[in-house]
Symmetry: C2
Subunit: 284 residues, 2 copies
């Protein structure tokens, strides 16, 4: 039976683009918020959830991390990485030049990502904010005016728009990361080569004394385990109490990881393995 | 002369609430994006910018951090911390009960923050997404239907709504952090007691070899300098290259900080002091 994949919608967004790049043929269902999408897997209404972890468009990594840490502890089974590519979308019948565009519609984060471009190439156009890049494309598709949207190729495709100018984002090396969550890993079938394998850990410190984090990192450092990400997040028990999300650039094994976990627990830390999983770097 | 303060708008948002709590009498100007607000200080159109650093509503910390790191190096001169408080707002003439509310309007992050509440208390209400909590309040103020908005007290005040239910957010210990940026610190006048003093540093590593971060933290640890935040961010020169934002819980001094900086530079790190500044924890 084909798996059902839930993703942070609406259609025409970067999450949908990542889901389409990674998966084929499965039934795909759009959710309006990250918690709703995660809950649907938890309640077994769907098999797999794909939500942003580092995404400059739809939302904050914090919401995903916090929900996984505090509410629903679903394992991370894969990570999908796609480049951010923003284009200027207009109606297919648009024949004018950039100077004719009176309004640019998009999500505030997409507008911010194309800040320099808009400043230089469309200084006169009025900026209109929308709830998503997909919504902006929809507005442009229904308008009789010379207006444009900022969005990705999928939004252009879904709403029948053409790309007046490609790759208008200010930074070319920007990527977004999505995590894939599911209870039954046998349902996950991604037919792409694996870039690397990673393990994500959640570590809470017994106190915020000077040097506690340094001590925690010692357990990784002397084993020559390389960390690709470390982030402190508040515990929600008040300002000043933090936990750490650490990404280790290797899959879980039965020697090094239990060694780290044992040592950290002896120091009074709480250690949770959030997942050990392959990373798929896809082009879109 | 009174200073002009730019903030991430529109009116009725959490940033405006923080600005109103911290400042009195100054001229306040709303900006639609974080880069526009920062640019306005850089180009000396305004004196002070207040933008979110850790804010679950208007946007991502990443946008602020990345813009300060890659585009405009304005010093951080203060931090404002306010609690997140979400309320259910209805028209003042609304006489019904919760069960009569057919729609709830708000920004997707505010909806997500009240996820449990909506699930339990308003399971039948249709969720409608808006570009900000202020916009949601505006929609409710103009509607003839039994609809509600999720937003803060300022949104209620600005749009003449009443609080049908207070503090409907799922976590009570959630806070948002804002940074205050300006070129001329003499223009900054915040008349509140200072909670703590902090120093934010930007450190890039010469390589992402195992243990490099551990080595960096050693420079702080043996001096017993306490870190309240550490976060790795990609360098935009491709995936895998990271820099670190580190918050040290003490003001800059002429002995410890230059010592840390000198040692880290000897290891091949780039070290930038993003600011040394007071933190104001305000109630709203």
């Amino acid at each position: 039976m084909l798996a059902t994949i839930g993703y942070l919608g609406p259609k025409g967004t970067f999450t949908k683009l990542a889901v389409d790049a990674a998966f084929n043929g499965e039934h795909k269902e759009s959710y309006a918020t990250i918690p709703e999408c995660i809950d649907a897997v938890e309640h077994e209404e769907i098999d797999i959830a794909v939500v942003p972890l580092e995404n400059a468009i739809e939302g904050t990594v914090q919401l995903t991390v916090d929900y996984l840490v505090h509410q629903v502890r679903l394992p991370i089974v894969a990570e999908i990485v796609v480049p951010i590519q923003q284009h200027l979308l207009v109606q297919p019948t648009f024949q004018g030049s950039l100077g004719d565009i009176t309004e640019v519609h998009s999500h505030s984060h997409a507008i911010a990502q194309c800040h320099q471009y808009l400043h230089q190439s469309l200084p006169e156009a009025k900026i209109q904010y929308t709830t998503s890049t997909g919504k902006a494309a929809e507005i442009v598709s229904k308008s009789d005016l010379s207006i444009a949207a900022i969005g990705n190729k999928l939004a252009a495709e879904v709403y029948g728009l053409k790309l007046l100018q490609e790759n208008i984002h200010d930074y070319s090396n920007n990527h977004t990361r999505f995590v894939v969550l599911c209870k039954d890993e046998t349902k996950l079938k991604i037919k792409h080569p694996v870039s690397i394998e990673k393990t994500s850990m959640l570590i809470s410190l017994p106190s915020d004394q000077a040097g506690a984090l340094h001590q925690v990192l010692s357990a990784f450092a002397w084993r020559k385990m390389s960390l690709s990400k470390i982030e402190s997040r508040p515990m929600k028990t008040g300002l000043g109490n933090y936990f750490f999300i650490i990404d280790v650039d290797q899959p879980y094994d039965d020697v090094l990881f239990p060694g780290v976990k044992g040592e950290l627990e002896a120091l009074g830390c709480n250690v949770t393995i959030m997942g050990t999983y392959p990373v798929y770097k896809l082009t879109i």
